[in-house]
Each structure stands twice: as structure tokens, then as C-alpha cells.
């Protein structure tokens, strides 16, 4: 039972004196220990001399027999057995005697043999083999027979082995199929119909209403040729997907400036994307099914979009041609959404792909489309969520609260927002386009106008329909004192709202010219503001300031602004007029005393009239030294400020 080998335990009497009896009072009476000789006798008695070494037993000589027979007789007698034990050495003596006898006999035999007169020792002669008639032939036959026998045994064994190996493999494959099926079952919905296993690719359980059945079939792929080498990517389970879901598909969203040729409609080029590499460790059916499901989803998105495109009435009708939907969010601009589905076998599409540049993709919108359709799924799913109170109306979960919480018409309307996928995506596209164009406008202005400088700070986090940018207009080197123009541009779907630093709000349309003009006028105002700030720092006095001058030439963009500042001691004055179109004009007023070409008046004879201001003289601004307007102004002011 247990594998533990038997343990030998030797037991010895612990106490030297043996207990004879135990008294009622607990006192023990001991036996007297044996004396040395008694002890030896006792031990010797235990030795069985008849059961000695094997050599004596093997050749039981006639003498030996004699000696043992009395022993047997003794056993039979029983009572007599105790007789010799009265003499303790009796058995020893007997054994010694028998040993002596045997030794004597052996000696005698050896003595006789030595003389070789009377006795010789001969090996025992066996029967001679039967006479052979054809020894060679017989040998051959027997050898053949025995070899055949051996071969048969070997063959049988080999057959059995190969059978068991095949069985093993078959079992393994079967097991592999089952385990693969189990893995498939963890990711996909499967059901058994007849003797087929069908799976579900569709998003119906997630709330999709797309009528495509989206079933795939699971195939057992076990009957491969055993002789051939099994390919590395061999999988005992294979899936068969519907032919219209094969290949790869994606939704392409792009915005183009020019209107398309009518002939080009509906022939959106496909460029094949390489099939996504299967993740290491993932079975190949997983990638296959995922690709098919993606095709299905793209088809659903496109079907939904084209349905909406036909239904929605817009000023410029949406065009649906083949696999393309075209809409015009802004005049002269077209948004095209197309379903690109390439099945693997079509080679013709390959050539078209090379010409197509992938740059006009709006990946954000493509991603958002997927997100929107999933939201749409979720919405349909949540409307029929079970369990459902028997008395509650069907519909959105919040709709159930609408009655008991007395929602008014507006609340209910907001719950039932049924803005379609297409409307949402067009709005997003408009926003993206507007944002892009705003960035372009600001960047081009910043790059072509060096003075003043424009800085744009874009916010990183945007809504899908709104984003904002902060625009600062500064002069290089004077960032600290010229901070008057800070604009916050909120870019929406159709328009841009500009919020001034002082809270004024201006709404611009999507036309880029409006934004450009606005920024130009702001830049021209900035220069005048900068002069005002500079005057404060330099200790000059502001005599007049106007953002919108009503005099002088009319500007095509905005209004000119003007400022007049006087030097600290009042001798000089500088007047600046700056228009977005006409540029800056700087005039300096000199005291009358410094004007030499002034005609001497007969009336103003007195010297005190020399302190009157004289006429304005224009400064040749482009000949002034300095890297920008404010720096030049600073130099001018410094030159006109007398040093005491």
C-alpha cells in the first residue's frame, strides 16, 4: 500500500534485571542476573548448528544423512528433546561430531581419488546429438523461420504504434478544433443550425437596425493530408464569411475646394490598405472576422448616410451617386463621403490607387462617423431596455420621467433630438473647415506682416462644434507695454465670434476675407495704441486719441485711428494717423521759433509769440532708423525730448 519500506526496529530489554513479579504494594522482585558462563551457555543454546553454511547442505553425504536422522528422531520424540539440554553443550558437541565425520569422509574420498587406482572423476556424458542429414539447409530454414517470427512481432508492434500515433493526432486535432471553437465562442455569437455552426457578425445585439443578416459559418478544417507538412499557420477551425463582406472597407471623408466634374461622380478611387497585421497570438479567424465586421459597419454607416441624404431637404440638395455622397457645406466647397470597399481579388483598383493621394482624408470625421453610429446603436438599444414597467411609455429612459416630472414641450423636444448622422457630420465638417481656414488666415497674416506681430494660441481641447483661439497683437521688443489688443476667437459651425478684451463681441461669417480685414484693422489700431502706451512711458502727454477718425481719406477696410502726443515741456507734438490700408503718417509740430521759413508777420512782433506752436511737418517715416514702428517712435520721441 504505502511505498515506505519496512523499518527494522530492534527491541532490547531496557533494564538489566528482569522482573520476576510485582507485589501488591508495587515492589518488584528481580531475577538474579545470569552469571557469565550461564549467559554464554544460554546464547550457545540458541545457535542452530544444523542450519550452517550452504556447502554442507548442498552435498548431503551419506554420513550427513546419518547425522541428521537422529535429529529427526529427536523431533519426533518431543519429550526426549529436553533430555540433552540438561547438559548445555550437548548440541554443540553433536554438531562438532557430525562436522568431524564429514571432514573425515571428505579426506578419505580425496585420498582415494589422489591415487587414481580405484576411482576416477569423469564428467557426466550427455546424449550425443542426432545425426544431421542437411545441416546447412536446416539451419537456413530455422533461421528464416525465427527471423520471420521476429519480423512479424516487430511489424505488429510498429502497426500498433503508428495506429496509436494517428489516433493521438486525430484526437489532438479534434481537441484543437474544440478549443478553438471555445475561443471563438468567447468573442463571437455562435449558434448551431442543423449540422452547421453559424456565427453572427452583425451589430444587431448592440442596437443596429441594419437589415444585413451578417452570418458567418464555422468550418472544421481537420481533413488535411497527413503526408504533407502541416503549414505553420494551420488552424483546425476556419470561418467562411459572406462574399459581400470580404476584403477591406473604410469610409472616406474629404473636403475639396473645387466642384467635381460630373463625370467623376461616383468613381471614387480606392487605394488598398494592407490588411491589418494580425496581433501576435491572435488566431487568423479573429482578424478575418474583425475585417468583415468592419466592412459591415462601414456599409451600415454609408446606408444610413445616404438614406438621410435623400430624406433631408437642404438648400443645396445632397447628391448620392454610387458609393459617394456629396454635400456643399459652404459655397464653393464640397464635402464628399464615400464608401471604399476593396475585395482582395480585384487587381484593377490597384492602378487607380497610385494616383490617389491620401492627404485629403479627414480622419477625425471618419472616426467621428464610427462613433456616431455607435451612439446611434446605443440609443436604439436603450429605448427598448428591459425590464420595462408595464405602465411606463416606451422610449428613451428619460422619457419615462417626462410624465411624472412634468417636462414641458422644450424639455421633451430636447430629449427627442433626432438630428441625423449626416447633419451632425456636415456640421462637424463645417467646423473643421472653418477652423482650418481661420488658422490659415492668421498664419498667412503673421508671415507676411512683420510689424506688428500676431501670435495665435490655440486651445488644445475642443468641442466637435466649437474651438477657440486667442490672438495677441504685439510689437517686437515692446511686448510688455503693448498689450492692448487681445482677441478671443470662438470658431463655431457657421461663424466666428470675436470677443475683445473689453468684452465687445463681433460676429464674423465664414468668409475668410472678413476675418482678414478685421485683423488688419486691429493691427492698425494696435500701432496707435502702442504710441499711446509709449507716450505714457516716455512722459509725453496725450492730447487727443481716436480709434475711428472721421477725417482724411476713407479706408476700404475699417477706419483709420489717430493720436496726438505732446512732449513733456510742450514744445513739440507728434501726430500719428494710422489706417489699415493707407499705412501710417507721422507729423511733428515744431515750435514757431524753430521755423525759419515762416514768413515774418507784422502783427506778431513780440518775442513771446515765438512760443506759439508752428506748423506740422511730415516725417519721412521710411527713412527713420529702427526695426519697427514703435522703436522708430521711441527714437523720435527721444530726439524731440530736450536734455537739460
Amino acid at each position: 500500500m504505502s511505498g515506505v519500506s519496512a523499518v527494522r526496529i530492534s527491541i532490547e530489554s531496557a533494564c538489566e534485571k528482569q522482573v520476576q513479579e510485582v507485589g501488591l504494594d508495587g515492589s518488584e522482585t528481580y531475577l538474579q542476573p545470569l552469571s557469565m558462563s550461564q549467559n554464554l551457555a544460554r546464547l550457545a543454546q540458541r545457535i542452530d548448528f544444523s542450519q550452517g553454511s550452504g556447502s554442507e547442505e548442498d552435498e548431503p553425504g551419506p554420513g550427513g544423512r546419518d547425522w541428521t536422522s537422529p535429529g529427526d528422531a529427536e523431533d519426533e520424540e518431543g519429550l526426549v528433546k529436553f533430555q540433552p539440554s540438561l547438559w548445555p553443550w550437548d548440541s554443540v558437541r553433536n554438531s562438532l561430531r557430525s562436522a568431524l565425520t564429514e571432514t573425515c569422509v571428505l579426506y578419505d574420498v580425496l585420498g582415494i581419488l589422489k591415487d587414481k587406482k580405484f576411482m576416477t572423476l569423469d564428467p557426466v556424458v550427455q546424449d550425443p546429438p542426432p545425426p544431421k542429414q542437411n545441416p546447412q539447409f536446416l539451419q537456413l530454414i530455422s533461421k528464416k523461420k525465427s527471423l520471420a517470427g521476429a519480423a512479424q512481432i516487430l511489424l505488429k508492434g510498429a502497426e500498433r504504434l503508428s495506429k496509436s500515433v494517428a489516433e493521438n493526432q486525430e484526437n489532438k486535432r479534434q481537441r484543437d478544433f474544440n478549443s478553438e471553437l471555445l475561443r471563438l465562442r468567447q468573442h463571437w455569437k455562435l449558434r448551431k443550425v442543423g449540422d452547421k455552426i453559424l456565427g453572427d457578425l452583425s451589430y444587431r445585439s448592440a442596437g443596429s437596425l441594419f437589415p444585413h443578416h451578417g452570418t458567418f459559418e464555422v468550418i472544421k478544417n481537420t481533413d488535411i493530408d497527413l503526408d504533407k507538412k502541416i503549414p505553420e499557420d494551420y488552424c483546425p477551425l476556419d470561418v467562411q464569411i459572406p462574399s459581400d463582406l470580404e476584403g477591406s472597407a473604410y469610409i472616406k471623408v474629404s473636403i475639396q475646394k473645387q466642384a467635381p466634374d460630373i463625370g467623376d461622380l461616383g468613381t471614387v478611387n480606392l487605394f488598398k490598405r494592407p490588411l491589418p497585421k494580425s496581433k501576435p497570438g491572435a488566431p487568423h479567424w479573429q482578424t478575418k472576422l474583425e475585417a468583415a465586421q468592419n466592412v459591415l459597419l462601414c456599409k451600415e454607416i454609408f446606408a444610413q448616410l445616404s438614406r438621410e441624404a435623400v430624406q433631408i431637404k437642404s438648400q443645396i440638395p445632397h447628391i448620392v451617386v454610387k458609393n459617394q455622397i456629396i454635400s456643399q457645406p459652404f459655397p464653393g466647397l464640397q464635402l464628399s463621403i464615400s464608401l471604399c470597399h476593396s475585395s482582395n481579388d480585384k487587381k484593377s483598383q490597384k492602378s487607380a490607387s497610385d494616383r490617389q493621394s491620401p492627404e485629403d482624408h479627414l480622419y477625425v470625421l471618419e472616426h467621428n462617423l464610427h462613433q456616431l453610429i455607435r451612439e446611434f446603436h446605443k440609443q436604439t438599444l436603450s429605448s427598448t431596455v428591459m425590464p420595462h414597467p408595464a405602465s411606463a411609455p416606451f422610449g428613451h429612459k428619460r422619457m419615462k420621467l417626462a410624465g411624472p416630472q412634468a417636462f414641458d414641450k422644450n424639455d421633451i423636444n430636447s430629449l427627442q433630438s433626432n438630428e441625423g448622422l449626416l447633419e451632425k457630420i456636415i456640421k462637424q465638417a463645417k467646423h473643421i473647415f472653418l477652423r482650418r481656414r481661420t488658422a490659415q488666415t492668421i498664419d498667412s497674416l503673421a508671415s507676411c506682416i512683420e510689424d506688428p506681430q500676431i501670435q495665435a494660441h490655440w486651445s488644445n481641447i475642443n468641442d466637435v462644434y466649437e474651438s477657440s483661439v486667442k490672438v495677441l497683437i504685439t510689437s517686437q521688443g515692446y511686448e510688455q507695454i503693448c498689450k492692448s489688443i487681445q482677441l478671443q476667437l470662438n470658431i463655431g459651425v457657421e461663424q466666428i465670434r470675436v470677443v475683445h478684451r473689453d468684452g465687445r463681441v463681433i460676429t464674423l461669417s465664414h468668409q475668410e476675407q472678413e476675418l482678414q480685414d478685421f485683423l488688419l484693422s486691429q493691427m492698425s489700431q494696435h500701432q496707435v495704441h502702442a504710441v499711446q502706451q509709449l507716450a505714457k512711458v516716455m512722459g509725453w502727454h496725450v492730447l487727443s486719441f481716436s480709434n475711428h477718425v472721421g477725417l482724411g481719406p476713407v479706408e476700404s477696410i475699417g477706419n483709420a485711428s489717430a493720436i496726438t502726443v505732446a512732449s513733456p515741456n510742450g514744445d513739440y507734438a507728434i501726430s500719428v494717423r494710422n489706417g489699415p490700408e493707407s499705412g501710417s503718417k507721422v507729423l511733428v509740430e515744431l515750435p514757431r521759433s524753430q521755423c525759419k521759413d515762416l514768413p515774418k508777420s507784422d502783427v506778431l512782433q513780440d518775442g513771446k509769440w515765438n512760443h506759439l506752436r508752428g506748423p506740422f511737418k511730415e516725417v519721412q517715416w521710411n527713412k527713420m532708423e529702427g526695426r519697427n514702428f514703435v522703436y522708430k517712435m521711441e527714437l523720435l520721441m527721444a530726439a524731440l525730448t530736450p536734455c537739460y
Binding site: P393, A402, G403, P404, A406, F407, D408
Partner: protein, 212 residues
């Protein structure tokens, strides 16, 4: 949802109900209010059934079941001075099942129908109150949508009402008084309608000249 004031507009002398309503709506249109469809508030009266009343001396309480087209999915059940229940629209079906406890006084059905006007943040509903076949009065409901605290916007409401109701502008409704600074709810509007309807019912003995 905002703060609402429901009031009665007396019929102008020498005019019919219809004409008075027309005068009011013309004034509103001149103000610049936009017409936005119609509205309807109805009220049904239920008696507590005699079988359920233990004490003979106790008068049966009246329960009013009301609907308001502004809250299309809701049904309001009110007791006078009592609690107000807001329920789903299929509360009516439940009331049919409760015939043994509440009996519908069909003759007492009263409703107000009219036009809904929007003027900026104000919603104005001028309606004709009818009981059975006869028109009995005019109701004017003014709602200020952006506010939910009654006392904060009462003055604004009153000023606006003065602009088209003139000296018939009502005083502060009683529901505002016990609200203090708490949030105004749709149930408060329904209580005001209930009070208005009760007032008009009691007037029914007094014949209004030139009503039809």
C-alpha cells in the same frame, strides 16, 4: 420651465368673450409677440364615492384631474388645499378603474383653450374658459421662462402684464406667497388654474351679459 402667473381677465363691457380675447391678442401681436400654436388646459372633477365615506356628516372631498398641453406627457391630480400628484398621462385609465372610490362629475368638466404666444422670454397664453357648451371667462397665463424663483421675477412679470392687461393686472398669486424663495414647479401653475376654474364655476350663477 419658468415662473407662471395665471389670472382672469374680465370681459370688457359691451363686448363678448370672443371680442375681448381678440382685443387682447391684437395687443400682444402689436407688442411683437409671436403666435405659436394653441394650448389647452382641462379639468375634471371627481367626487369621493358615498360608499367609501364612513362618516355621513363629512362632506365628500373633491379631486381635480387636470391636463395641460404645455406638459403633454403629464397628468395632474389635485385636492383643494391638498397635495398635488403629477403622473403619467395614462393616469386617466387608472381613474376609470377607481370608479368605486371616485366618481366623475361629468357636468363639471371645464377647460381653457386658446392661443400661445411667445414674446422673447415670456410665454403668454390667452384662453377662453368653457364649461360644457358655454364660454364663461378669459384666462391669461404669463410665464417668464428663464427664472425658477417666483419672488425674483414677480416684479418683472407684473410690469410685463401691465403692458397689455392694463389695470386688470392681477395681484401676486397665493402660491407665490407660500413658496418664499424655493423653486417654482409646474404643479404650482396647475394649482393656479384650479383656483381660477373654481372661481369661474362659482360665478356661473351671475349671467354675463352678451356672452354669446
Amino acid at each position: 420651465m419658468g415662473v407662471t402667473c395665471v389670472s382672469q381677465m374680465p370681459v370688457a363691457e359691451g363686448k363678448s368673450v370672443q371680442q375681448t380675447v381678440e382685443i387682447l391678442t391684437r395687443k400682444l401681436e402689436l407688442l411683437g409677440a409671436e403666435k405659436q400654436g394653441t394650448f389647452c388646459v382641462d379639468c375634471e372633477t371627481y367626487h369621493t364615492a358615498a360608499s367609501t365615506m364612513g362618516n355621513q356628516g363629512q362632506a365628500g372631498k373633491l379631486m381635480y384631474v387636470m391636463h395641460n398641453s404645455e406638459y403633454p406627457l403629464s397628468c395632474f391630480a389635485l385636492f383643494e388645499n391638498g397635495p398635488c400628484l403629477i403622473a403619467d398621462a395614462n393616469f386617466d385609465i387608472l381613474m376609470v378603474k377607481l370608479k368605486g372610490f371616485f366618481q366623475n362629475a361629468k357636468a363639471n368638466k371645464i377647460e381653457s383653450r386658446g392661443t400661445r404666444y411667445q414674446y422673447c422670454d415670456f410665454l403668454v397664453k390667452v384662453g377662453t374658459v368653457t364649461m360644457g357648451p358655454s364660454a364663461r371667462g378669459i384666462s391669461v397665463e404669463v410665464e417668464y421662462c428663464p427664472c425658477v424663483v417666483a419672488n425674483d421675477c414677480w416684479n418683472l412679470l407684473m410690469e410685463f402684464m401691465q403692458s397689455f392687461m392694463g389695470n386688470h393686472t392681477p395681484g401676486i398669486p397665493s402660491v407665490f406667497g407660500n413658496k418664499h424663495d424655493s423653486i417654482y414647479s409646474p404643479a404650482d401653475s396647475m394649482v393656479q388654474y384650479m383656483e381660477l376654474f373654481n372661481k369661474i364655476r362659482k360665478q356661473q350663477q351671475v349671467p354675463v351679459a352678451g356672452m354669446r
